[in-house]
């Protein structure tokens, strides 16, 4: 019996399932061997430089921030411990905010301090008011390659410049919190569910002393005169018109000066949003036929051009005085009849109406039934 056969004979007495624990044991042995061999290999290596085998990470601090919650979730608690109770409300935090993406990191993750003590002084020792100012690199860990144009908003922001300065450790006076300050407390600039007012930008621009923080080179004065410093017009009329020609508000784009419309918008037409008639963003595909928006109340009469009879600046109830064809149809359409609403005569339909006076008027008792043509006297 050679060596192989002898070994085979021995092994075949094992139960078949034995290969499973053998495999698991060998896998475990390989891991243990690796744990032993790695330090040995390291000891024998020619270079002894320890690599930075560390992923940059924001320390998770939700479970060590309960002490912060005790005061900052409760106005009475804040007022009791505040030096100036009048301003205590400014430090109140909505409890729901700790469930947001940034809030779930925990207070001490961004603000430092000690979130596990009850004492205010000890808890606030080493407090960081604004992590994006004290340690801006902490924001860059997750937020890299941010767009210079906010998608959907046509808003130009110097993200790349700010990021570059942070990465290269260059001084700057523009911080993430300048625009995204409330991000840990419920403000979500990305989802757009809570809008950031433009006044925040305007106030900041006004406060900034060194414009070169954001604007490197170029004719800054010329840029500052236009909205296009920050906003990229989505409309093809942007080259001919400046934003204030139509837009009247720095709070919401939707507020428009209707008088800027090249064609008069009579009546309520001046109150509808631009893109209820035009196609966003370039005003093409204009809806100018009345029935594109309005549904006729008398489909058996008239066509899609309602202005033949109706005044677009008035209500639907009165037929336009300029519609002279109504007289051709009914020569009594004059005098007080002009003040009667359409449905005053057209009870059910706009066709086949009997023009006789007694359709609407009843014969007074002073007249006998032989008087049938009122217009002979009246």
């Amino acid at each position: 019996m050679n060596h192989n056969e002898m070994h085979l004979h021995q092994v075949r007495r094992w139960p078949r399932w034995a290969v499973v624990p053998i495999g698991l044991g060998l896998a475990g042995f390989a891991v243990v061997l690796g744990l032993i061999l790695e330090p040995a290999g390291y000891a024998l290596s020619p270079v002894k430089v320890e690599p930075t085998a560390t992923i940059p990470a924001v320390g998770y601090g939700r479970d060590i921030s309960d002490g912060c919650h005790d005061c900052h979730f409760s106005l009475p608690a804040l007022q009791a411990s505040a030096d100036d109770p009048v301003h205590a409300e400014a430090y109140l935090i909505e409890p729901e905010s700790i469930h947001t993406t940034h809030g779930s990191l925990g207070c001490v993750a961004c603000h430092g301090g000690d979130g596990e003590v009850a004492d205010k002084e000890t808890g606030h020792r080493g407090l960081i008011a604004d992590i994006s100012q004290a340690h801006p690199e902490q924001c860059i860990i997750c937020h890299q390659d941010l767009p210079d144009q906010v998608p959907g908003d046509e808003l130009l922001v110097p993200h790349q410049l700010v990021e570059s300065k942070i990465v290269h450790g260059e001084p700057g006076n523009l911080f993430c919190s300048d625009c995204h300050g409330g991000v840990g407390h419920g403000f979500d600039p990305v989802s757009g569910e809570i809008y950031c007012s433009m006044m925040i930008c305007v106030d900041c621009h006004t406060e900034q002393e060194d414009c070169s923080t954001c604007h490197q080179g170029g004719d800054l004065e010329a840029q500052m005169t236009g909205c296009d410093l920050c906003h990229d017009s989505p409309h093809d009329v942007g080259e001919q018109l400046t934003c204030p020609c139509c837009h009247t508000s720095v709070e919401t784009w939707q507020e428009i000066d209707a008088s800027s419309h090249p064609v008069e918008l009579p009546g309520r037409h001046g109150q509808v949003h631009c893109f209820e008639c035009h196609t966003w963003p370039n005003f093409k595909g204009l809806h100018y036929i009345c029935t594109d928006c309005h549904r006729s109340g008398h489909t058996e009469w008239g066509d899609d051009e309602c202005t033949q009879c109706h005044d677009p600046g008035a209500t639907w109830d009165i037929v336009a005085s300029t519609w002279d064809k109504h007289v051709e149809l009914w020569d009594m359409y004059k005098g007080d009849h002009l003040q009667v609403k359409c449905q005053g005569c057209h009870f059910e339909t706009y066709t086949g109406l009997d023009p006789s006076c007694d359709t609407c008027h009843s014969l007074p008792q002073s007249h006998d039934e032989s008087y049938t043509k009122c217009w002979l006297c009246h």
């Binding site: 078949r16 698991l24 060998l26 290596s45 998770y60 990465v167 450790g169």
Partner: protein, 332 residues
């Protein structure tokens, strides 16, 4: 502030996850191709099916232990299933689906190899039914098709379905371990699509190494005589792994910066002895030579087979460890 160190725990998780998936693939290929039925007992299929579940389960537990949050606030774990923008959520779903399939396949293979298990189960059930009278009543409440307990299940038919679904998830698991690292932009060494491909090939290689070269060879030393084409398969995957590893390091060197610095740590830095001796020498060159010899002679010695398997497995572990440990984040 606390810093997260990714070291051995994560490397072992990636290794066990990959090797578990590779072992499943190996067994499933034997099952689906019919190789498993060429002989009375196929230790490769038994080993591959049996070890995949426990290996992946241990790896997942190591991951949970390393992350920590899952232990402190386990009620948050379900939330990890809902963030579909995250690669981790993809991985969690893949592992959640794959783990039961691994254990099911292991159980089926075990029952197929040990028919006495079903007889034993039936005897035990009868004993229990005599002791607790309510059990037969509960049994009768089951629908009739479920009450059928055949002496011999249609194992081959069931295993084909399990293997067909499982092999897709096994590939997903092996690739995912690489994708998990490759999406980390903060570490340029990892941030490359070569990594998932390298981890997939390494998973297949380590799976073969464990279930065929080690476990099966120990149980049945003549196994290399049965499958004479196996050395060629080994050579292909070892060669492919060498090519991908070389490509990974060359690309990292050419990218410069932290990626190149990480690659230099592996090639000429403080990780170089482990890399050249254990990964390249013992884990790739030696097994490759053994299999070239085996292919030429249609067989190789028992010890050389075991050692080449050990080398492949050790290389799989250290490839992952070196990639994790040599990672240098972008400078801030």
């Amino acid at each position: 502030m606390a810093e997260h160190h990714w070291g051995w725990l994560i490397a072992i998780y990636l290794f066990l996850g990959g090797m578990g998936a590779g072992s499943f693939m190996m067994a499933a290929v034997f099952e689906l191709s019919g190789l498993r039925y060429e002989h009375d007992f196929c230790p490769t299929a038994m080993a591959g099916a049996g070890v995949s579940g426990p290996l992946i389960l241990v790896g997942v537990l190591l991951l949970v232990f390393d992350l920590g949050a899952g232990l402190r606030e386990p009620w948050r774990i379900p939330l990890m299933f809902t963030n579909f923008g995250s690669v981790m959520t993809w991985g969690i779903w893949i592992l959640t689906l794959f783990l039961p399939i691994c254990f099911l396949y292991g159980l089926l293979e075990l029952m197929h190899n040990q028919p006495g298990i079903m007889v034993w189960v039936r005897k035990r059930l009868r004993l229990l039914a005599r002791r607790w009278r309510f059990l037969p009543r509960l049994w009768r409440l089951l629908p009739r098709p479920l009450r059928v307990m055949p002496e011999v299940l249609p194992y081959r038919w069931i295993k084909r379905i399990v293997c067909g679904a499982g092999i897709v998830l096994a590939v997903g698991t092996a690739v995912y371990t690489g994708v998990l690292l490759s999406v980390v932009k903060a570490v340029p060494l990892w941030n490359t699509p070569i990594l998932p491909a390298l981890f997939l090939v390494s998973a297949i290689s380590t799976g073969m190494g464990l279930s065929f070269d080690l476990a099966a060879t120990l149980a049945l030393p003549e196994i290399h005589r049965r499958y004479t084409a196996m050395p060629l398969v080994h050579m292909f995957f070892i060669g492919l792994e060498v090519v991908l590893l070389a490509l990974f390091l060359i690309v990292s060197l050419s990218r410069g910066g932290e990626a190149a610095e990480s690659a230099r740590l592996i090639l000429i830095g403080n990780r170089s002895v482990v890399f050249w001796v254990l990964v390249i020498g013992f884990g790739m060159v030696y097994p490759f030579m053994v299999h070239v010899y085996a292919f030429a002679r249609h067989s190789h010695g028992f010890l050389s087979g075991i050692l080449s398997g050990a080398g492949i497995v050790i290389a799989g572990l250290f490839v992952r460890y070196l990639i994790v440990a040599a990672a240098i984040p972008i400078t801030m």
